[in-house]
Symmetry: C2
Subunit: 167 residues, 2 copies
DNA sequence: CTTGACCTTGGATACAACTCCAAGGTTTAT
DNA sequence: ATAAACCTTGGAGTTGTATCCAAGGTCAAG
C-alpha cells in the first residue's frame, strides 16, 4: 500500500502525473483513507509500470487506455478482439521501426560520405546532401583541404580524427 | 518558383505550416513579390522535403533546425562537427529502434499467448499478462471454452505456470 | 500546540506542432 | 468592375502530456 508520494517516488514520476493519469482513466488508486488520501496497491503499481513501459516506447496515453480498458470489461470481449488490438499495436510498432530503419540508413549514408576530419565543412558531403536532397550522396574527395596530396585520403579512410574543437 | 499555396499543395502541407516553419527558422522563401507574396524556389522545396522526411521519422523541429542551421554557417564548422551531429542523431535513432524492438517483442509474446478465437476474453492470457505484468506470460489452455477436451490445443502447453501474487 | 512534510482540489501554465480566424490587400477571369 | 481565389499579418485555439500553484486539510514528532 502506497500513498501517492510513495508510489511516485517508487516509479519515478510526479504526484501530479499520477493525478493526471487518474483524471484520464488510466490509473485509479484502489482506495482512499478516511481523510481522502489516495491508497495504491501493488497491483496499481504494476499497472503504472505497464503504462510507463508502454509510454516509453511511444504509445500515446489514449492507446494505453484502450489497451487497459479492455481489462475492465473482459467478458464483453473475445480473445479475437484482444489479440486484434495487440496485433494492431504490433503492426504500428513495426511500421515505426521500418520508418526508423529507413532514416537510419539515410543517416548512415550521410555519415559515411563525410570524412569527419577537422577541415572546414564548406565542401562537406553531408551538407551538400542536405542542400540538394538527392538520393545518391557524393563522397568527399577532400578538395576542400586546400592542401597537398597528403590529404587525399577518402571516405573509407577513417584515419585518426580526435580533434574536438570549439566553435 | 512557387507561391505558398502551390508549394503547400505540392508537398501536402498547409500554408499555415509553411508560415509556421518560417517563423521558427526552418524554411524561409527565397524571395517575395513586390506585393509581399512569398516565393519559394525548387531548392526551398527540397529543403521542405527534407524537413518532412525528418519529421516523419520522429525528429523534433528543434532537431531539424539544428541539422539545417549548420548549412547557413558552413565555414564555421568542421567536417568533424557535422558528422558528429549526424552520428548523434543516428545514435538517437538506433536507441529508439532498440526501444521499439523491445516492445515489439513484448507484444509478440502477448500475441502468441492468445488463441485469437471467439471465446470470451475472461481468461485471456493477454489480459492476465497486462494485469499481473509478470515477465513470463502464461499461454491459454482454453479452459474458458466451457468445452471438452476437444479444445485442449495449446500455444505450446506451458500451462503449468501458476498464479503468484495477490497481497 | 506548533511545525513541517505530506495530502486534497481546481485551475493556470508550458511546450510542441500545428490549425484556424479576422480583416484586409492582390491577381485573374469574365 | 466585380467576384473568386489567392495572399498578408497578428493572434487565438487545439491536442497531448504533463507541471506548477494556491488555499487549505491531515498527521507524526517535539
Ligand atoms: Zn571532409
Ligand atoms: Zn564532411
Ligand atoms: Zn483464447
Ligand atoms: Zn486470448
Amino acid at each position: 500500500m502506497y500513498r501517492i508520494g510513495e508510489l511516485a517516488q517508487l516509479c519515478e514520476v510526479r504526484t501530479d502525473t499520477l493525478r493526471f493519469y487518474e483524471k484520464h482513466g488510466l490509473l485509479s488508486p484502489s482506495s482512499r483513507t478516511d481523510s481522502g488520501y489516495r491508497i495504491y496497491t501493488e497491483a496499481d503499481a504494476e499497472r503504472l509500470r505497464f503504462i510507463l513501459r508502454a509510454k516509453a516506447v511511444g504509445f500515446t496515453l489514449a492507446e494505453i487506455a484502450e489497451l487497459l480498458s479492455i481489462e475492465l470489461d473482459k467478458s464483453n470481449w473475445a480473445c479475437a478482439d484482444v489479440k486484434g488490438l495487440v496485433d494492431d499495436k504490433l503492426a504500428n510498432v513495426e511500421a515505426k521501426i521500418a520508418e526508423l530503419n529507413h532514416f537510419q540508413l539515410s543517416l548512415q549514408r550521410l555519415s559515411q560520405a563525410c570524412c569527419g576530419g577537422p577541415e572546414s565543412a564548406e565542401h562537406c558531403s553531408i551538407l551538400e546532401a542536405l542542400e540538394s536532397s538527392t538520393e545518391n550522396i557524393r563522397c568527399e574527395n577532400h578538395s576542400h583541404t586546400h592542401d597537398d596530396a597528403q590529404f587525399t585520403k577518402t571516405c573509407q579512410d577513417k584515419s585518426a580524427v580526435k580533434n574536438t574543437q570549439e566553435k
